[in-house]
């Protein structure tokens, strides 16, 4: 860390955690033995928020951080962003220390709650954060237009952020995280408090970002959503990483196979199918026939979208 003005001490390297030279690495983000402890002086105890975390996230993957509140997800994000300093261990983003400017130029962050200035409107907010990222002039203007379009904030861009709804704040949050076209995105509870339609839009956006080759690390409590977008997940509990792996390998129930038939079978048809399968050596008592269910989210989306399509075709309401 340097400070740009200094009469007596012209340029002093204040802080070097470890070497600040980039290390060649195949990972977008990695941690080795990353630990964070907080002193609780009034309780005469020490809180271990994160305990020796080893994590590797490859470029282009969507990684989900899961766990109950206080399990260390946010702490991990903050350490990877360089906002806090580890008590032990190391974190690297694209081979660089997280608090270096080069690392942060390639990183975008959507905070859990709207940590933005309420007195600025949408345009001013994006302009402010854009300038801080070194995006200026006509390029910044273009970028703001693109992002407003992308997140669907045309109506609210002139209004101050303090008048925004939670959904709008998440959208502006996403926009500012993307303003400088980062390679790695940290999303802390991106769909918290957002209605299912907006939530679905954010999910689609994450999929689009993945197609663009961006790496996304996000934490969420909405397990079904994580299931839909993440490639790999890690589950945290009490500051420790308990489980990690691809969804495919973690969720697949071994010892069973699912067949989807696009028709409702009568009892007789079910009996005939059961007999056919049991001839392959499988105990027919263990074969179950169930009707697949839509998720409530799918039903909701389908209904709301249909209504929206209907309204756009018949604006007079007839």
């Amino acid at each position: 860390m340097y400070f740009p003005i200094g009469k007596r001490v012209a340029i002093v390297k204040i802080r070097t955690m470890e070497s600040s030279a980039p290390v060649a690495t195949p990972f977008a983000a990695e941690t080795v033995g990353l630990t964070k402890r907080y002193p609780l002086t009034w309780k005469r105890k020490v809180l271990v928020a994160l305990d020796h975390l080893d994590l590797q996230i490859r470029p282009g993957e969507v990684f989900g951080l899961l766990g109950p509140n206080g399990s260390g997800k946010s702490t991990t994000l903050k350490l990877l962003l360089g906002l806090i300093v580890p008590s032990e261990g190391e974190a690297r983003v694209f081979g660089l220390p997280p608090d270096s400017l080069d690392a942060r130029r390639r990183v975008g962050f959507l905070p859990e709650n709207p940590y933005f200035y309420g007195f600025l409107n949408g345009d001013e907010t994006l302009r402010f954060y854009g300038k801080l990222c070194g995006v200026t002039g006509p390029k910044l203007d273009r970028r703001i237009e693109e992002l407003i379009e992308l997140v669907g904030l045309q109506n609210g861009r002139e209004r101050p952020l303090r008048s925004y709804s939670k959904g709008m704040l998440q959208r502006i949050g996403l926009a500012q995280a993307l303003i400088h076209d980062p390679d790695l995105l940290f999303l802390d509870e991106p769909t918290a408090g957002v209605d299912p339609l907006g939530s679905a839009q954010i999910r689609d956006l994450i999929m689009r970002l993945k197609k663009m080759g961006k790496t996304v690390i996000f934490s969420s409590h909405l397990l079904e959503q994580v299931q839909e977008v993440a490639d790999r997940v890690a589950i945290f509990s009490l500051g420790k990483k308990v489980l990690e792996g691809s969804l495919e390998s973690l969720l697949a129930e071994s010892q069973s196979t699912q067949i989807n038939i696009p028709a409702e079978l009568s009892a007789e048809q079910q009996q005939r199918l059961r007999a056919a399968i049991s001839q392959t050596g499988i105990d027919d008592q263990k074969i179950r026939f169930t009707r697949p269910h839509l998720s409530l989210e799918q039903l909701y989306l389908r209904t709301v979208q249909a209504q929206a399509d209907l309204s756009s075709k018949n604006p007079s309401g007839k």
């Binding site: 860390m1 340097y2 400070f3 740009p4 003005i5 200094g6 009469k7 007596r8 001490v9 204040i14 802080r15 903050k78 962003l81 360089g82 906002l83 806090i84 300093v85 400017l101 080069d102 942060r104 130029r105 990183v107 975008g108 962050f109 905070p111 709650n113 940590y115 933005f116 200035y117 007195f119 600025l120 402010f128 954060y129 300038k131 801080l132 990222c133 070194g134 200026t136 500012q176 400088h180 940290f186």
Partner: protein
């Protein structure tokens, strides 16, 4: 370097915008302008029915004292309250997380915030100075009106060369005192003192946990700073005569607390005495270097602060 400066200025402009859009500051400013204007009323109050030759000298002195006193006092409140809120607000609202997640150094953030408050103060001082100038001008007009009336009591006084000479002299005295270019020097010195106060408040806020603590501590340092010269003289002269505790306390004050009392030469300017620009520049230089040290220490402390 340029991009660093660019980021600092972006944060400064944002800070200024935030302060300007806040209603509280507007109220404070209006209050200040009213006080500056009412200094005229006070000067009339202090010199009722006065017939001495020093009448206008006294009235103009009171207007100057009160006008600059109001600028100093309100400037102090604006500086202190704005600075004390800077860091705690960012931490409380967590807006600092979003900013520091961007490629912005903590030092740039701090310096940008500081610059924003300094710009705000400069704006307020400029507005109050305009009000002050208007008040002084009104006082000049009053003085000239009273002089005209006094001389008009002698019929055909314009024919008397002695009376004409006396009239011209009286008018010249009033105008000279009102349009004293040294007043600009005085306001610049007041501003320099206030910017130093901002630096102190910023330093305290980098490690303080509440803005109340910052306000109280900065105010105490401000007061002790006016006694620092006495402490320094005592410490340098006392040698082995005082106890270790006395010596330590006085030494601590002398070594670390700024000498605020040296800025009271503004009183001399307001009383009409000559203060050369070389001395004013010496004081301003001292304030600037002190400020750089304060900012450097603030940057170090803030760099290492857990947020």
């Amino acid at each position: 370097m340029i991009s660093s400066l660019h980021r600092i200025i972006t944060i400064a402009r944002n800070t200024l915008t935030e302060s300007v859009r806040k209603k509280v500051l507007n109220v404070l400013l209006i209050f200040a302008l009213v006080l500056v204007g009412s200094s005229v009323g006070f000067s009339q109050l202090a010199t009722p029915g006065l017939d001495s030759s020093g009448l206008f000298d006294a009235q103009i002195k009171f207007v100057k004292d009160f006008g600059c006193g109001a600028i100093g006092l309100f400037g102090f409140f604006i500086a202190l309250l704005s600075t004390a809120e800077l860091i705690p607000q960012e931490l409380h609202n967590r807006t600092i997380y979003t900013i520091l997640a961007k490629p912005v150094r903590r030092s740039e953030f701090l310096l940008g915030k500081f610059l924003g408050v300094v710009l705000l103060l400069a704006l307020c001082v400029a507005l109050m100075s305009l009000a002050f100038a208007a008040t002084l001008y009104w006082q000049e007009l009053q003085g000239l009106k009273t002089t005209d009336a006094a001389y008009a009591q002698s019929s055909n006084w314009q024919a008397n060369s002695v009376l004409v000479s006396a009239y011209n002299h009286d008018v010249q005295q009033i105008v000279q005192q009102v349009r004293d270019p040294q007043l600009i020097e005085a306001i610049i010195l007041i501003f320099a003192k206030l910017v130093m106060t901002i630096g102190i408040a910023l330093l305290i806020s980098t490690f303080a946990t509440s803005s109340i603590f910052t306000i109280v501590t900065t105010f105490m340092i401000y007061l002790i700073g006016h006694m620092e010269s006495t402490a320094r003289e005592f410490w340098l002269a006392s040698g082995a005569n005082s106890s270790i505790w006395q010596s330590s306390l006085v030494g601590f004050i002398s070594l670390l607390i700024p000498d605020m009392n040296s800025f009271t030469i503004v009183d001399e300017i307001l009383a009409g005495n000559k203060v050369p620009w070389s001395h004013a520049l010496n004081l301003i230089g001292y304030a600037d270097v002190y400020l750089i040290v304060l900012l450097a220490v603030s940057v170090v402390i803030f760099d290492y602060r857990e947020i």
